[in-house]
Symmetry: C3
Subunit: 357 residues, 3 copies
Amino acid sequence: MEFEAFQSSLADPAARRSLLFRDGLPFHVLLAHQFERPDLEALCDTATAIRRLDRHDEGRPFLRGVLAERRILNLFAQPSTRTNESFVAAGEKLGASVRVVSDLRTSSFEKGETVEDSVRVLSSFYDMLVTRHHDDDFAARAAWTLSRSRRPIPVISAGSGRSEHPTQALLDVYTLRHSFAGRGGIDRKRLLFVGDIARNRAIRSLATLLLRFEIDRIDVACPKEHEPDRTFLRPFEERGVTVALHASVADAIRAVGRELDAIYITRLQREWDGPDVKPGTPEPFVLDVRHRSAIRDDCVILHPLPRINELPDAWEDHPGFVVWRQVRNGMWMRAALLATIGGAADEIVALAGRLGL
Amino acid sequence: MEFEAFQSSLADPAARRSLLFRDGLPFHVLLAHQFERPDLEALCDTATAIRRLDRHDEGRPFLRGVLAERRILNLFAQPSTRTNESFVAAGEKLGASVRVVSDLRTSSFEKGETVEDSVRVLSSFYDMLVTRHHDDDFAARAAWTLSRSRRPIPVISAGSGRSEHPTQALLDVYTLRHSFAGRGGIDRKRLLFVGDIARNRAIRSLATLLLRFEIDRIDVACPKEHEPDRTFLRPFEERGVTVALHASVADAIRAVGRELDAIYITRLQREWDGPDVKPGTPEPFVLDVRHRSAIRDDCVILHPLPRINELPDAWEDHPGFVVWRQVRNGMWMRAALLATIGGAADEIVALAGRLGL
Amino acid sequence: MEFEAFQSSLADPAARRSLLFRDGLPFHVLLAHQFERPDLEALCDTATAIRRLDRHDEGRPFLRGVLAERRILNLFAQPSTRTNESFVAAGEKLGASVRVVSDLRTSSFEKGETVEDSVRVLSSFYDMLVTRHHDDDFAARAAWTLSRSRRPIPVISAGSGRSEHPTQALLDVYTLRHSFAGRGGIDRKRLLFVGDIARNRAIRSLATLLLRFEIDRIDVACPKEHEPDRTFLRPFEERGVTVALHASVADAIRAVGRELDAIYITRLQREWDGPDVKPGTPEPFVLDVRHRSAIRDDCVILHPLPRINELPDAWEDHPGFVVWRQVRNGMWMRAALLATIGGAADEIVALAGRLGL
């Protein structure tokens, strides 16, 4: 199969599952929406089990054996310290050895070698490949290349260009499910998204996964010029989910403040507007503390970080502020993903159960 | 507590101890002078025990368990290969996993994130933070930030700006104590410092720690323009310690050569004098081999490295030449510090005793 | 012994062995031709044993103990991702901790320190040193420096300037021996080398090692301006080995195609011809697929990678295509080398035998 055929097959649910899963388990992780609801529930359960085992004297050594003697390569052509460190921590907590290669220019690309050869050579020394690249197609091309080789290994996207960041979406789903644990989970919850939704891959990937749950409506506060496009809206319309647009945070909170179960706020990615645009979120998309009385105490506040001024420090003591937990959850969810690919998820969940965690 | 209050509290011995120690053990390590004499003696004993256990077949696996499953982040914004490698070796000898992040520009600082947020995110994946930064306040700010978070972890300064390099001072104290082991320790020893003492943080930090011992006098050979200032001299005066200045090594050795127990020589940090100044120490501050007959054979020769021309190779076979031992001692002392913070020092010293080491 | 004397002693076989071996085992690895035939056979046997043990449930944990608690420094002043990763994997498969330092500018060279001091300081924290450097003499100088110190550690060259790349030659010998296992080994085999043989250190080092076997003739297809020089040819003449030159791959295959047991093809290193020369191998030195019917099915096809256009993808399904196996063999051979230096080779081979591998 040529790469173009591989790429277009990913659009079809059945073909996608056959290309990215093996024996019912994820092998390559390229797209947030490659996961169905049962996959998501299982990943969340595994993440919780790992988080609890890591605090347990019997659990910790068990975890360190899950990927012992496995070697993971983080091939991060696009620098991203925090995502990288999150994956390194996830791998090491499971006993894997994780190495980072960040400067592809020092490899043989420069001498005229193809990307495919470079990926095959480097992957020869590893058992799993985690990649981040500014090119939308890089992770898929690596997965395609390795799938055709005699020694295929899993490829996990840690962010490909502007399109996909599947593990960010997974950690957000996990944080939401965890936050709503006593309230029936994610189904029928009301979320407000704040930011330049049209070009934020974290929001787009999370929104895709929300469609795996019973959601009636989402609210969006975003600048006029970054309103969601047809590609974003169509799947919501097809599922009968209302997408309500607001011109500012203030408008949104005035309209639905006390009905909100969660606010997911992001910075405006203004570095993409040109070199002269200074970072910083304009006032209409800042979650000012004066809105605090207009939302419920159990409203969950999320932010994928980095933040600039749109989520002031003063929110830190709000009962629903889970931003730092999101960061730790990223580590647990990535560990859950690696363990699931490694075939150890069931054993992990079973041990946590046996230990009463 | 705001950062400014945290900073100024560090000047008060009792407040300092309450901010930087927990349950009698060091938690954050920001300043050489945060350690009192009993702290120093205990750290030296622990370093010796670790050094001996590392050569012992039963000791080595024990050491590898001390920080097993702990993850240390070396956040080195200012590159320093040798201090970094020394800390990595120290951590790994105790079984920790040590990761190095050196280029903060690849993180989210650039997008407008605060230093505090960056440090919190990165530290989320780690159990201890070792930092080196050109900013005098960076380590203190990191310690303050993490102390306020729900998941505080220890912060160890590996050099902050031009002001502090506490672990260099600790390794020098350890090397001196070790060298004087058969001669009653550091108390009442006579030391000569050679170099631009006013701006050398290694000398300044070590001199501070010498005040924890019974010292009557120190000698200093330094260029006129880098003579010690009032801040350096005041604590010596307050303790009744004479500081005798000399215009050259030759002058100093002529005056007190055979009374010296140790010579601590450094390069002149001429890169700070401007871009056109070539490295290299002028003749008056070079320890020429012709001085060899004018000092005792048991006079200890120390240098914090790197050296240029001020300590010629010909000194290597002098019985008191301990420069390479200093390098190894840096590793042992940093391991002792990490083990002490981790609460394992007593157990380490006890095992070494039980094994007769 | 001064460095110049050390260097010139390496030209004499007996002096070389005494400088680079200890107790019959390699200590420093600087030159491909420091290995005699029994050394090569033993290294290949060890590599095979390691490769098989790594797939065995009892073998793997044994391997992880071979260099457990040993620390290896990869000091790669000249970037080379794949050689570096190959050594990291080799070390980690034996349980060593491997660290990479790649930017010597961040160390103290800049402040005026000598190379000898820098190497001694860094090596203080390690048990083995693997180096790659653009300077032909760097590895030898490191070995000389450390041999004189009180704490000598082995130095392994991972490529020094344009002259030596001993581990590439070892992995090629291993791949050839493995490929000819059912056909009496390397003795009396017929090889064709394609590329700019005069300046390709992989070919030069491999050719040197072929002289350890019973070879009657080698064929070479290379551009007129890169024909082998006297230094290359003399040892072959002295051993009575014919070196037959051809002006193109087509000429060579027309002359000896069906007699060839192996073709070792390389890219032309055109980046050395100046900044304006584009990479890419001209047609006469490309192994076109139309030659396929003119060579035997058991002719082995090797390439040290990276390749450009000289070995098209269409060769991948040829039964003799072992290029990807070469990459993995590099890891196994480097592991064999590290294990041999560490004194564990006999035990490894014995365990593989006992397990019937």
